[in-house]
């Protein structure tokens, strides 16, 4: 299978190479079931890139993110991290080696930071254990980048609101100067009025500290706001990848098209119109062939037999579909 090359061969920070992550469910009382969370996915994240990973529940997007930073071991395939010219095999390295360069921002700000801690300690502890110097200066810089007032350092985390905690979560991740951060649904648990701030902070962090991001979300519009490129996952497979505006303007995969149709826009004129939805609502995983075939309005006999490969259809725009 051809790897999506991006622009320059050396210009990547994360390389996902034929990655599959399978889980087995069941045990003593039920038959063992194999769950293919990620199935033969390959992609790269470029330096200083924000890659949006969009998918619904069961798409495997969270598993993908966690595997790229070493919290999950690959079942087949490899994940590489390229820093300072060296390539580290994330799947085969101990976490100690990898976590120098990577970090994660979690979805739930209430359980990703221990509420009983002092805000100062939340930022200072990781720096202390990494034997960093200038801890005070680093803390101040992080707080400024996420737009939190320094007075809050004296408070305990439980005194902070959800939005403030999420910003603290970002501060904590970027204070240790990672090269690559996975943001797993960072805005999902926040109110509408707070989402914009968080996305802006992620973008600013990329600018200020040259960090690459994987932005995981189930909301395509959110991904579009700050992602350079967007990848669409469906049932563990990468079905489309391309520049953000390209994907939105010219979606190639039927699933992507269905998603774009389904996302509401501010359109009160449509209120009486019953939208035509071309795909069936229920997710069915087929035994073989294209994973999307059972729901696809354009399914051909070929689709039920063989899995389509990821193909570059136009400059930088890849899709896995027999229509192309």
């Amino acid at each position: 299978m051809r790897l999506p090359a991006g622009s320059i061969e050396e210009d990547y920070i994360v390389k996902v190479d034929k990655l599959s992550v399978y889980f087995t469910k069941g045990g003593m009382f039920s038959k063992k079931v194999l769950i293919k969370a990620i199935d033969n996915v390959s992609l790269r994240i470029k330096n200083r890139e924000i890659l949006g990973v969009v998918g619904e529940s069961g798409s495997g997007k969270t598993t993908l993110g966690r595997t790229t930073i070493g919290l999950q071991k690959p079942t087949y395939g490899n994940v590489y991290l390229k820093v300072d010219g060296k390539e580290i095999n994330v799947g085969k390295s101990p976490l100690k080696k990898v976590n120098k360069y990577v970090q994660m921002i979690y979805q739930d700000p209430y359980s990703s930071i221990d509420p009983i801690m002092r805000v100062y300690d939340v930022l200072a502890m990781p720096l202390k254990y990494r034997k960093e110097k200038d801890i005070e200066a680093r803390i101040e810089e992080a707080m400024r980048l996420v737009d939190l007032p320094l007075e809050l350092l004296e408070n305990r985390v439980y005194q902070l609101s959800g939005g403030q905690r999420q910003r603290l979560s970002i501060a904590r991740a970027i204070a240790v100067n990672p090269r690559y951060v996975v943001a797993d649904e960072p805005t999902t648990m926040l109110d509408a009025s707070l989402k914009g701030e968080i996305l802006k902070i992620i973008k600013d962090a990329r600018e200020a500290k040259n960090i690459s991001f994987m932005l995981i979300t189930h909301e395509l519009p959110i991904a579009k706001i700050i992602s350079d490129r967007i990848s669409v996952l469906y049932l563990g497979k990468l079905v489309e990848l391309g520049r953000s505006d390209e994907i939105i303007k010219n979606p190639l995969h039927p699933y992507t098209q269905a998603l774009i149709d389904a996302y509401p826009t501010i359109n009160p004129e449509l209120k009486d119109k019953i939208k035509e939805i071309k795909i069936k609502p229920d997710i069915v995983r087929p035994e073989k062939g294209c994973v999307f075939a059972p729901r696809c309005p354009f399914a051909m006999p070929k689709c039920k037999e063989r899995e389509p490969e990821l193909k570059e259809v136009s400059q930088g725009h890849y899709v896995a579909c027999w229509l192309y």
Binding site: E56, S57, S161, G163, D191, A192, S193, L194, K195, G196, E197, L199, K200, H218, E219, L220, P221, I222, K224, I225, I248, A258, L259, I260, D261, A262, Y263, P264, T265, I266, N267, P268, E269, L270, K271, D272, I274, K275, I277, I279, P281, D282, I283
Partner: protein, 312 residues
């Protein structure tokens, strides 16, 4: 007017103080209308739904106000009368996370049949269940299954079927599509639109997702900190909103045609100690002196828009 809510006040008596979750809210729903109740968390929108169903959880209490259903104040009725004649018969509710609204030990159809029996409905139960499932566009075979055998979207539709069992005139849908995939979400939306068209049922659609609301509602109420900031026909609310909060909220919604979304700085005021004047005053970019002193009154405009703001 099918439903008139006048001056509804619901307060929660907690250890920290009295939280004024719903503070003097007026709203109307006409026959066959889909009315949206929009707001962020803490705005009081769900509480209003529970209030109309008289299901406000402890330590909340309906402190004041009237809820007139076809002219009758349902708040003043005794619990028995309301339960027998109104709750689920005339007004039904689909809750947030209805996916867990079924008990796992019985089949779906049995649970719906039980609801029918409890409310004194007589007739062919199996046929009725089949009818309801057709109404929500589901294969009746699925009714014969246990809740855990259905997907989230299927469970939600099944719950809507159960809510429709006794032909209610008003359906309150509290965040019916949260936690569901966007494609399933569109299906549910289409379903509700069809129900309004085919059955003439009125719907109160409670959600934080303004974009979603814009595609389905005829009129909307924008709630903030327990009060209605603005209300009016959807075209006005979404295209020409007058209240600063409505404008800011629309700016913060991420839709595919936007490249930038703006946030609203600050945070919701403490409802156990609400500020004097307009509740939005600390976060409003247009706040004047009077906004901190007096609460603005609702002003009605010719295009049907009603705004509570000192700018007007």
């Amino acid at each position: 007017m099918l439903l008139e809510v006048k001056n509804l006040k619901i307060y929660f008596y907690t250890k920290r103080g009295v939280v004024k979750a719903v503070d003097s809210v007026n709203l109307n729903v006409d026959k066959g209308e889909i009315v949206g109740l929009a707001g962020e968390s803490g705005s009081g929108k769900s509480t209003i739904g529970y209030g109309i169903m008289r299901l406000v959880p402890f330590p909340g209490k309906i402190v004041d106000g009237q809820v007139l259903f076809k002219g009758e104040d349902i708040l003043k009725m005794d619990e028995d009368t309301f339960r027998k004649n109104y709750r689920w018969k005339k007004i039904a509710m689909v809750f947030q996370g209805s996916m867990s609204g079924f008990t796992p030990v019985f089949k779906i159809k049995d649970q719906i049949i039980e609801v029918l029996k409890l409310h004194g409905w007589n007739g062919d139960y199996e046929e009725r269940v089949r009818e309801l499932f057709k109404m929500v566009n589901m294969d009746p075979i699925l009714a014969d299954k246990y809740p855990h055998e259905l997907s989230g979207g299927q469970k939600q539709r099944a719950f809507i079927a159960m809510a429709l069992a006794l032909n209610p005139e008003l359906l309150i849908a509290d965040e019916p599509t949260t936690a569901l995939d966007v494609i399933v979400q569109e299906n549910i939306l289409n379903l509700l639109k069809r129900l309004r068209k085919d059955l003439g049922i009125s719907i109160i659609f409670i959600t934080h997702d303004l974009a979603l609301l814009s595609e389905i509602s005829d009129r909307d109420y924008i709630l903030y900190a327990g009060k209605v900031m603005e209300s009016g026909p959807s075209e006005v609310i979404f295209k020409r909103p007058r209240h600063p909060y409505t404008q800011a909220l629309i700016e913060s919604i991420a839709t595919l045609d936007k490249d930038v979304i703006k946030g609203i700085p600050g945070s919701m005021p403490d409802l156990s100690n609400p500020p004097t004047g307009c509740r939005f005053n600390t976060r409003c970019p247009f706040a004047k002196d009077i906004c901190f002193k007096e609460e603005p009154k609702m002003k009605i405009f010719s295009d049907g828009d009603e705004v509570a703001c000192w700018l007007y």
